[in-house]
Each structure stands twice: as structure tokens, then as C-alpha cells.
Subunit: 266 residues, 3 copies
Amino acid sequence: MFGGLIGTLRDRQPLVYSITNYVTVNDCANAILAIGGAPIMSDEISEAGEIAGNASAVVINIGTLNERTVEAMLAAGVSANKKGIPVILDPVGVGATKYRTAVTKILLDKVKFAVIRGNVSEISAIYGGKSTNKGVDAASVDIMDINDIAEMAKKLSKDTGAVIAVSGKVDVIADKDTAYAVYNGSYYMSRITGSGCMLSCVLGAFCGAVDSYLEASVCAVAAMGIAGEMAEKKMEGTGSFRMHMIDGLSNMCENVFNEGHRIEKL
Amino acid sequence: MFGGLIGTLRDRQPLVYSITNYVTVNDCANAILAIGGAPIMSDEISEAGEIAGNASAVVINIGTLNERTVEAMLAAGVSANKKGIPVILDPVGVGATKYRTAVTKILLDKVKFAVIRGNVSEISAIYGGKSTNKGVDAASVDIMDINDIAEMAKKLSKDTGAVIAVSGKVDVIADKDTAYAVYNGSYYMSRITGSGCMLSCVLGAFCGAVDSYLEASVCAVAAMGIAGEMAEKKMEGTGSFRMHMIDGLSNMCENVFNEGHRIEKL
Amino acid sequence: MFGGLIGTLRDRQPLVYSITNYVTVNDCANAILAIGGAPIMSDEISEAGEIAGNASAVVINIGTLNERTVEAMLAAGVSANKKGIPVILDPVGVGATKYRTAVTKILLDKVKFAVIRGNVSEISAIYGGKSTNKGVDAASVDIMDINDIAEMAKKLSKDTGAVIAVSGKVDVIADKDTAYAVYNGSYYMSRITGSGCMLSCVLGAFCGAVDSYLEASVCAVAAMGIAGEMAEKKMEGTGSFRMHMIDGLSNMCENVFNEGHRIEKL
């Protein structure tokens, strides 16, 4: 099922508009290209709404947010929502600073997201910030197992209407009814910057090409993990790991995916 | 003729000041160093004029423009013009948003450019925006052949006084009288981000070291294309293609250039 | 002595907060991860003080400073000073523009730095700007030998209270009493962008894990130089040199360090 989505993406070449951080933006653009999409980056309010309205998907990443770019994020999100274009949120560091937490709350209030992707801490911070939930304290985050995470993701999906993709040793992707675990990936993805950011952009590319955001997200997470596994076999250090992971994305195809993925429906 | 310019550049080590986008800025700096120049980047109005006045060439790339950086672009361009320092324009995405089109018009009004480099769509958008021309519609762009592009480039050169470098499957470089086609390059240059941005910066390095901007531009386009061909032979994916292309630039020399270039005077 | 600090860093995984330029920020984050630290980047005043207060070390790099980010640098520096968290200054291009010189003066007035790292020109510009010194003119910089540099560094350390790390063909690191020379490194570190920026960040990681900032700085400089030497052996051009240097950092360990370092107490 999932493997066929690679070909769909490559055929449709979705235009992915990312308002993202300046740390990993180059890797993000190259990851979008490698998987078969077309990237465009801009954080200027004067054109954010216009670009978003012409894109196949919009990715909002708050990794190096500032007051100017937050305005562009809101304009892009609202514009995409009006046209039914999927918007992906990568809430980098939400919970770590008051400003990021406040901005994330505003984004969630004003923009309807197709997918929210983050690590367990970030997703827990959002989950805890929703008034309908009790919240997750930091100590609990460390001992959550896959089923705990899947429960949290389903509830957060019900609250937000977004597919929730939780990155970790095992990745969990869920909508309000259904959760998947993805066992692909490499330890070294956590030893470079940008693995999460690139995943959010690749996820945006799949959402821009595929109707089901849940399936798009599962496929993106597994494809990224497989690329990481391919890179781990070739690496001589973390610098070459990063390069080989982008090589892996560019070499991804239905066969490679079907032989490599370890997706489980929970 | 052109091959000798590599040595001239490496001897003179031109200081290339780039106001460029944050997506590909690192590749741009490394490309300038690889071909033998010295890069400096800044987009702060408080120092843009001063840096430009001390540079060998200035490259203005609007890839992630914003209101603050556009002011710096104008200050740098005007400062360089006063001292006769060549200014290169890379009008990324002009025609794609109203803001980029408007900013490009202002830049063309206030700054005299030595070279304008873009893809066929971007150059057509500028050509169409000049009141003396009828414009090129999007549908026509796709069916333009080399001679059509050369005609457009010559006319735009006459209008602007700039050498026009048009990137595409075949690259066309022209001033008002003379046009060259360059057949070097690799498909994979379009599968990574930054090939065009890097070319504009390498072109800036040649213009900062060589008197004829037409010859400098032809040489830069061919050198970049040869580096792309070298990279295509070594790549294992698009991540390694990018690395090998910068390796290729750093290994460029008169012999490699003379054996590899496919330049034709039209 | 120094080799053991690698293990200390890897055990403690210091959180290094960098306010740095957008040219080399990705390499900086990857270098911090490669040596064993955890990077966080932000230049937003609304969160700079909060992040700095929770970090193990703060690195301020003025490579692409602007009015907005300078405010964040000051807030971060002051916040870190209050908690005794080490702050490293990389005064990129100080002396090259009036604005950079003025900003550096303000930073030195308002923030107490643990380490100042720059090339000979940059350190000389700061030294010359201190009223207690006569200054170093540009011509003199080129003919300074190691002992001249060590004298300057010791005096500047006495004036500022910071360890001074001077990068060059031979690196010199000094506090007011003691100076070291480090003979490691590769010519190709000057043929890519970011060697200095990465060093400042790696230095921040060591300062965030080790009590003696002098020893931390010497170790960082030597580790970076050894990584450069490892990369020179594997490179096929400057693009692959850069990748192999990050590989080298990620493969750094006490044995590699002890066999490779060429540190001399002056």
C-alpha cells in the first residue's frame, strides 16, 4: 500500500512551501528535491500568502522563529487553509521557551493543520497545553511506551483534527482512530541536525501528492527511516551520514521501500 | 581563450560580496572559495555600502528577500556602481510573486547591473516587464529554442546594459551584439538546490577578476557545467552529487576546462 | 592532560546556545553534535535570555549580524553572565566595517567573555581598539610571529579577563599568564567557509563541559586541527574536505587526540 505512494509523489512533483529555520533549510530543500518534490522557501509577509495559495503543501517550522517570520507563518497558514492545501507544523522546541509555547498556541488557534510532527517532548508539550487534557510532565515523557504515545497522539488528533507524527526510537503516527508504529531509522539521525526538519518537509511533499494525510505521513516517516538505515551502512562519520541520507532519499523507490519498511498497525 | 581566465581568477582572488538567500548561502560561499575567490556575506544596511565599496564584485540574489534585506541590496548596488565594481543580479522567482516582481523592478531602476543571470522563466519575466518589449507569456517560454532565447537575451542586454546569462538545458549568454551557447551541465544540477545561486556567485568571482563581463560569464557558466559533469560521474545520489560538484569547482584548472568545455558562438 | 577532556565533553553533553551567522550555522550545529554536545540556535530577543540561562555555554558570532540579532546577543550574554555560564565571542570581520567594530565594542563593554576566538586580524583589531594598547596596524599583522601573537594575546587576556584564541597557520591560545601554540590543522581549512565558526562552537562545547577555559580552548583548537588533518588525507576537493572534517570530529576520541595533537606550551 504505502510503497506505491513514492511513485505518486514523483509523478506529481508537489510544490512544497516551507517557512523554516535557517539552520537546516538547505537540507530541507535538498530533501524535498531528493524525494521528488519542488521546494520554495520564503518568510516575507508580502508574499507568504500568495506563495502558500499556489503550493501543494505548506510546512511551518518554528526552529528559528522571530516576530517577523511568525507573521509570515500565520499568513501562509491561513491562505493555505482557504484553498484546502495541507499545512504541516513542526513545533521545534515548543515547551522549551515561553515564546515558542506562546507562538505554537497562536498557530494552533489560527491555522488548521493537516499534520503535526515533533518528538515526544514537543508533542507532549502541545498535548499538555490543550485545555481538554491534563498534560504530560517531563518525567512522564521519558517513560512513555509506544502504546502511551499512540494514545496521546490519537487524543491530540481528535482535539486538533491533525494527523500526529511522533518521532522517537520508534515513530508513532496516528489520527483519532488509527495508529501506526514505524521501526525504521538510525541512531545517527539524532547525531546530525535536521533529521526532524527534513522529515517534516518530506512529509509535506507526500501530503502535497497523496489524499490521505495519515498514509502520507506513515510513508514519509518510513522512507526517511529507510534512508537513515542506508546511510548508516555507508557512513564514515556523521558528516558523511548526512550526505548518504540525502542520497538514500533520492534513490528511494517502491522496491527499496517495500523491502525496507517496518510499519506496524497498532 | 576562456580557459586562461581560471588562472586569472585564482591569481587575483577577488572579494565577492553576496547578499543572498539563507537556503543556499553556505554552498555559495564554498563555491566562491572553490573557484578561487574570497566570499563575504552580509545583509545589514549599516555596512552594506561599505562592504560593497571594498569588494571586487557584488552579487544580489533575491531568493529569500525581505524588506530589511532589500534595503541592503539597494545600498550595496548603488555603492558598487559609484566605484565601477560589477554587480550581478540573480532574480530568483521574479514573476512568481508580485513582491519579487516589484522588487526586481526597483533594483533594475536603481542599480546598473554588469550581469543578470536566471532561468528562462526569470529572464522572460524581466524581459516582459520592460516597457519596450511585448513580454513573453508562460506558454511561450516552454517552446523557446536557443535562437529565440539568444534574441531575447540580446534585446534585454541592449535595454539594461547588462550581460544576460540564461540557464537551461543549454545555457545562453549574450550582450547586445554577441551570444554564446554552453552545452555543459548535468540534469542533476536541477535536482539539488543552489546550482543557480552558486553559478551567480562563481560568475561574480569571474567578473571581479576579468575585464570582459561577457567572457567572464561564459567561462563561469561552462566551469559550473563541467563541475556538474564531473559530479555526475562520481555521484551515488543527489547528496553526493552536490559535494562532488564543489570538489569539481575546486579542482578546476585551465586543462580541465579546455578539455571539457562545449562553448559555441551563435 | 588534554585528551581526557574529549571524554568529559562526551559524558556531559553540554547544551551550546549559538547566536551565529546564517552562512555556516548548519556546519556549526553539526560540529557541536559531532564533538558530543547538543546545539540550540535562536536569535530572537523574546527567548534569547531564557535559552542562555539554561545552556551550558553561549557562543556569539557576528558573521551576519544585524540590528535585531545584536539585541539578542546582548540579552543572551548578560543572562549567561548572571548565571556564570561561559560566553564565547567570535568577532567575525571586526575591523573590516565600522558597524562590526562598533558592535564588538558594545559586546565587550556589556558582556564578560570566557573566550574570544578570531584570526590574527580580528584579534589585533580588538587589541588595537582597547584604549590601554597602542594598536596593531594591518601591515604589522602580516609579520607577527608566534611570540608576538602570544604577547598580544596575553595582554588582551589581562584587559578582558577572557582566554584569547588566535587562529592562523599556527594557533595561539593564552590567558594572561600562559600561552600555548597548536601546530595542528590543514591549509584546506582556509579553503572552505566555516572552519573558524565551527571551531568557536566546538570551543563552546568544551567550555560548557570543562572547568578550565584555557585547557578547554587548547583542546578544542587541537581537536579541530586534527579533524582537518584527517580530512586532508581523504579529500578529493574542498567539498569532500568539509564533510570529512565533520566526520573527523565525530570520530574524535582520547586515543586519536593523544596520537595526533601537537600542542606546545610557550
